[in-house]
Structure formats: C-alpha cells, structure tokens
Symmetry: C2
Subunit: 408 residues, 2 copies
C-alpha cells in the first residue's frame, strides 16, 4: 500500500553551453520528482523533465495527483491503470488547466512514472522485463485509449500486441547485444565550429554511428556550414540528424530545408511550432524524400494521432517525461506501429527510463530497433546511470526503471 508521498524539485546546472539550442540558450536540466513510498519499504520514483524555471509548478501539480494514490495498492492500481490515468487526467476542476498538456500533464508523467517504477520494484524486475512479460490484455489495461477510438480501439491495440507475441524471442537477442544509441551532445547550439568538429571525431571514436547537430541560426549559412563540417568529419555512412528546435517559421523552414538537402540529413527535427500540424504537412510534402522528426514538445496522444493521420512525421519522438508517462508513451507507440512509423524518443530522462521502453517497443511491439538518443550530462546524478559501450546502451539489470537520483 502506498503510505507516503515525497515530491522533490531537483535542478542541475550544466557546463557552459551544454544543452543549448536555437530556442533554449541556457537551460538548467531539472526534474519534478515523485516518490511513492510503499509500506513494504520500497519507493517508486518517477519524474518529469523541465528546463529549470517553473519546475516547482510541476512539483505542486504532481503532489495534487500523487495524494490521490495514498492508501492504494500498486498491483491493484496497475491492474486497471488506464482507468486511473483517465480519472486523474480528467479531474473536473484541474482539467481546465490543460486539458492534457502543459504543467498538469508533465506532473501526471511524474506520478505515472513513479507508479511503473514501484510496480517493477515490487516485482523485483527491471521495467523492460515487467512490460515484456505482460500479456497483451494486461498491457492494454494500463492504457487510456479515450479520444483515439477512431484510430485505435481496445481490440485493435490487443491485436497489434498479439500479432507479435509468437516472435518475441526472435527479437530478444537485443537484451544481450544492447540497444544502439546516438549522440546528441556533439553539436549544442552555442558550441563553436571547432568544438563541434572535435566532438564529432570523439563520438565516432566512441563507436557512435549516428549523431545530431543543433541548427536554427538567425544566419542560415551558419547552419549549412556546421552541417557540412559534421558530414565531412563523419563521412557518408554515419547518420547525421539536424535539430531546429522550433526556431523556423514555415516560410523559413521551406527555404532552409531545401538548402540543407545536399548534406543528406537522416532527418530534420522540430522545424517549427509543435502545435502546427498543417505546417508540418506542407513542409513534409515539399522536402520529401527528406523526413521530419517531431514529438519532443507534443503533449498528448490526441495531437500525435493528428500527426500520424496527417502523414508528415517520418520519426515520432514521443517522450515519456513530456506526455503522461509510460502509459501514454505506450499508447502513442501502438498508434505509430499501426501507421508503420518508427518511435525514436526524445530523452528528457537522459535515457534512464527510455532504455526500458525501447526494448519493450522492439521486442513486444515489433518496432524496429533504430537507436536511442544519448545525453551524458546528468550521469553522475543517477544511482544507476545508463551505461553506453561502443555507442550501445547496455541493458539494465536492476529492479525498477533506473530513475532514482542520488541525494543532494
């Protein structure tokens, strides 16, 4: 039984320039942490990610949700977590503050993720193992499919998982070999050209075969120059992704993306405002065969549904510390599976939680094991930091979702 709640506001100052992009020049990576303390002595930990200012607002909203779980048994909660999620996210007064977006939805992610962590810890298994061993019905019972009935009914969701049950073992080799990573830290926005060049070399030496550069400069020539540097150092076999972090207007994106085509980016990420489904449709049509990646700032399954229906996302970057946690991450992943679109999460969690979820997506859902973003800046603050060897995530073996932070 959940007998006590702790909410913690944890903020981590980064080294100069780290984490910077075209929009977010000086972030403080921060977590609104929920701890659910079970009377068995086990603590479930979950969090949402923010860039510092306002992290306290998410903490306060998380406390509102978490209080409602006091006295509940975690196995009972998870037996029908879809209903729990639906009730929490539609609390009739609090709902007005979203619905299903912004501060309140980040807070729900924090609490939801703490539930999944507690569940796995009480069963004594890593989260990836717990999820993979659940039956299709048990998984779908943890999901809230409201407002996506036109694309994914309960029966369809179960069928998508059922179809892959028999072949799970064929895809389980990845637990041993590890899930490939890609390096986002080579080219933060404020790094100078030489630092980008040096980081790019270092990433290749470390074994990464995919990496990402921040673009979205006021001067498009800076973007083009830096993209060419990365391509030159990386060679033609390495996948290079470009990330504009919403910096461009649609007319700007249309013009700049055409100029970036020649360096053959694997994707162009967040070209413009994350709410602008129709702008992404226009852009995707215009710059094909180059693909768009998006989802870092998309708050819920309804907007992801629209992006999938609009057929403009080549890669979906749903983030379990932005949408309503593991539950909604799985819901979105199922919709992506139906549409045949790869899920490549944004890792506000630095990969700690998502290393479990991409294994589940690959093994239980049959998603391609593409690669998972890797951001190393907070490793020293985690009790069980993600381990990357030769550019590959090593599968975690401890119970839970590896999201505990060290005490200050």
């Amino acid at each position: 039984m959940i007998s006590a709640i702790n909410i913690k506001d944890r903020r981590f100052k980064l080294d100069s320039g780290a984490g910077s992009d075209a929009i977010h020049r000086d972030p403080v990576y921060s977590y609104a942490v929920t701890e659910l303390i079970d009377d068995s002595g086990i603590t479930g930990t979950g969090f949402a990610f923010t860039l510092g200012e306002g992290n306290d607002l998410v903490c306060k909203a998380a406390a509102f949700y978490a209080e409602q779980l006091k006295g509940k048994d975690i196995e009972e909660l998870m037996h029908h977590f879809g209903k729990v999620f639906n009730q929490l996210s539609n609390e009739q007064q609090f709902r007005w503050l979203g619905p299903h977006k912004g501060v309140v939805h980040l807070a729900l992610a924090s609490v939801t993720n703490a539930c999944y962590d507690l569940w796995a810890k009480k069963r004594g298994v890593p989260l990836w193992k717990l999820l993979i061993d659940l039956s299709p019905e048990q998984i779908v019972n943890t999901l809230d499919l409201s407002y996506i009935e036109d694309e994914l009914t309960r029966a369809e969701a179960i069928q998508l998982l059922q179809d892959k049950q028999g072949s799970k073992s064929e895809r389980s080799g990845i637990i041993e070999s590890g899930y490939p990573g890609y390096d986002t830290s080579i080219g933060w926005f404020s790094y100078d050209d030489e630092k980008v060049r040096a980081n790019c070399k270092k990433a290749i030496e470390e074994g990464f075969t995919a990496m990402k550069l921040k673009v979205g400069s006021a001067d498009p020539q800076r973007d083009i120059r830096r993209s060419n540097i990365v391509r030159e150092v990386a060679g033609s076999d390495v996948k290079v992704m470009l990330d504009a972090n919403q910096q461009w207007t649609l007319p700007q994106a249309l013009s700049i993306c055409k100029e970036l085509q020649s360096m053959q980016p694997y994707w162009i990420e967040e070209p413009t405002h994350p709410d602008d489904v129709l702008a992404h449709m226009t852009l995707a049509d215009t710059i094909a065969p180059i693909k768009l990646a998006l989802g870092e700032h998309v708050p819920n399954k309804v907007i992801f549904k629209n992006y999938l229906q609009a057929d403009c996302a080549g890669f979906i970057q749903v983030d379990a510390v932005r949408v309503g946690g593991v539950s909604e991450f799985i819901t979105v992943s199922l919709m992506c599976k139906k549409y045949g679109i790869p899920v490549v999460p944004h890792v506000g969690d630095m990969g700690q939680l998502h290393q479990h979820l991409v294994l589940f997506n690959h093994i239980a859902m049959g998603h391609e094991a593409l690669f998972l973003e890797h951001i190393p800046h907070l490793q020293k603050h985690f009790v069980h930091p993600a381990v990357i060897k030769n550019g590959v995530y090593q599968t975690p073996q401890v119970a839970g979702s590896t999201c505990e932070l060290k005490n200050q």
Copy 2:
C-alpha cells in the same frame, strides 16, 4: 511606471448545479488576478479563468511574468507590446512548460490583460474606445504574429484593419444600441428538465433571442429530449445552441449529431477533444449544414490557425482569459476575419472584458455583431458588473476593461 505587483487567488462557489456541464460537474469559478500598480496611483487589473483547483499555479506563473514588467512605463510597453508578448511567452526556460499552452499561457493572459486595463485607465477611456481609436499600425504593434506568417503577415494584418477604417462610423451605432447577448445559464448539465423549461421561458421574457443547452449525456436520449424541450419553449425563431463540452468521442459525435439535426441547432459546440483538428474536419464534413463552434479550450493562435485552415469551425470561440489575453484574442480575430468566420467568444470573464473586445471586432475589424455569451453568476463580485437589458449588453463607460473584483 509600474512600481508594484499584486497577485490574487480569487475563488467563487456557485449555487447548486450552476456552471455544470458534461465534463465539469462541480466547478468553482476562479480568477488568477494580476494587479499592476502604477506610480501614478492607478491599478491595472487582469485575470485568467479557471475552475478552482490549481488556480494557485496560474497565480504563481503570473507572478513570474509580472515581475518582469516592474519599472516599465505602460505607454512604452504597449507601443510595442507584440515584442513584449513574444519575449515573455518564449522565456527560454519557462517556455518548456508549454509552449504557449496550459498554466503558463493562462498566466500570460492574466498579465497581458492587466497591461491593457492599465493602459486604458491611464488614458481615462473604456478599453473598447482605446482600441477603436488606435491606428491599424498601432493595433498591429500590440500583436505577436510569430508562427502564423504563412497566414497573416504584418502587412496583411494592417491591411485588414485599414480596409475598415473608412466605414467605422457606419458601425458605431452599436455603442448606443448595445451588443446582443445570449443566455448560457438556462440549461446547465445537472439542471432537471423542469428547471430547463422554466429558465428557457424566463430568458425569453428577459428578451434573449438566443440560448444554449448543455448536452453530452451518457444517455443520448436525455440530450435529445432536453433539446426538444428548449426548441418547443423557444419556438422556431430563437437560436438554440448545443454544447457538448468535449464529452463525445469522434464515433459518438458522428452518431449523436445526426440525431440532433432535426431540432435545428444554430451550432454544436465542443463536440470532442479540443486538440483534435482532424476529428473536427471529419465531423464538420459529415454533419453539414449544421455548424461547429469551438475555441473555449484552444490555447493559442497556432492551433486556431490550423482550425481555420482545416475549414471545420463555423464559429470561433476564442476566449481572452484562455489564450494569451487581449493581444492574442485580436490576433485570432484578424485571422478569423481573413477567413470570414464569426468570432463569438467564450466568456470565462463573464463578459466583463469581452464586451469591449466584440465592440472593437465589429467596429474596427468589420466582424458581424452576432451576440456575446452571458453568464450572470459572478455579477455581484465585480465593481462594474456588465449590464444586460432586454438581452442586450449596455456599453460600459468607465475607464479600463471593467475587470476589477470587489475586495473580499
């Protein structure tokens, strides 16, 4: 110069059943109030609306924005308020909590509206008069047109206003005659059939020629029965609107809206999730010629742009205490004007602020003077409550935006 800031968390318990709809069964109408105190002794008041729980979160976020205006001169701020709005709404850490939605955007509405109130009070005129007397360039300087460049450039915005400058006086008669209202309080969700019937009669006696009923019951037959009661009492000349408050899934909406066609609703409001642009497209196509009204929960100009581009909204219900205040309300109204779609605001402010804005929309922008929602429940709490006679809003004559609340 703005020398001090006050943030107030004001909550008002309603009489039994008032304010209830299919989703929000027991709201506490609440305002996150920003007061900007000028060293001339004048106080500008603005607010955002919530349903109670979490109003404190909006207050806290409003304080963050308001602090940044300390020491600023209001005339200087409003001379280029579009830039101020853009900077506040894109503060590089706080932006992560939206962007441009949820708690932080409600907070921005509160602060923005306080700026407009202070501006009008310092000039000693009602807000409607201040806005109507501004030149097209001066109006457009108060707007942030970022991320809508593909639909509304600065030049286009100025031209839309310029086109109507010469004919303003032809539309100014409405200042004397008053802006028509419609009654939303006849049929709250939890009122029984007899109370709906009695309220409907009363509204007609009071002079209203338009009124709204809450639908979205678990039992569609209840919706149909109650809709027919209103149509029967109101007769065929009265406009009757039906409001589902997002209760339906798309498949439900498709089926129920067809059944509601026979009572000839003037519009069907918020049929499903407010983020689901593509569902509204499907629904609008299917139930034409019946029109959809939406916007109460749409947080920003980008999503309104998508709704207009998708051609699925017959009426746009942008609310200046939901989007980023008066500035973004005007931006959305200009886009609607371009698309020829009427603006009929949702009135989280109980009409106190919007009575100014619809006069501006009609006189300066040439929008049709359709009618403005009227909700009477908080009248006793305002210093200058909106005055409705024979179902018509009487134009306010005091300086400012009539948003001050009485002290507790």
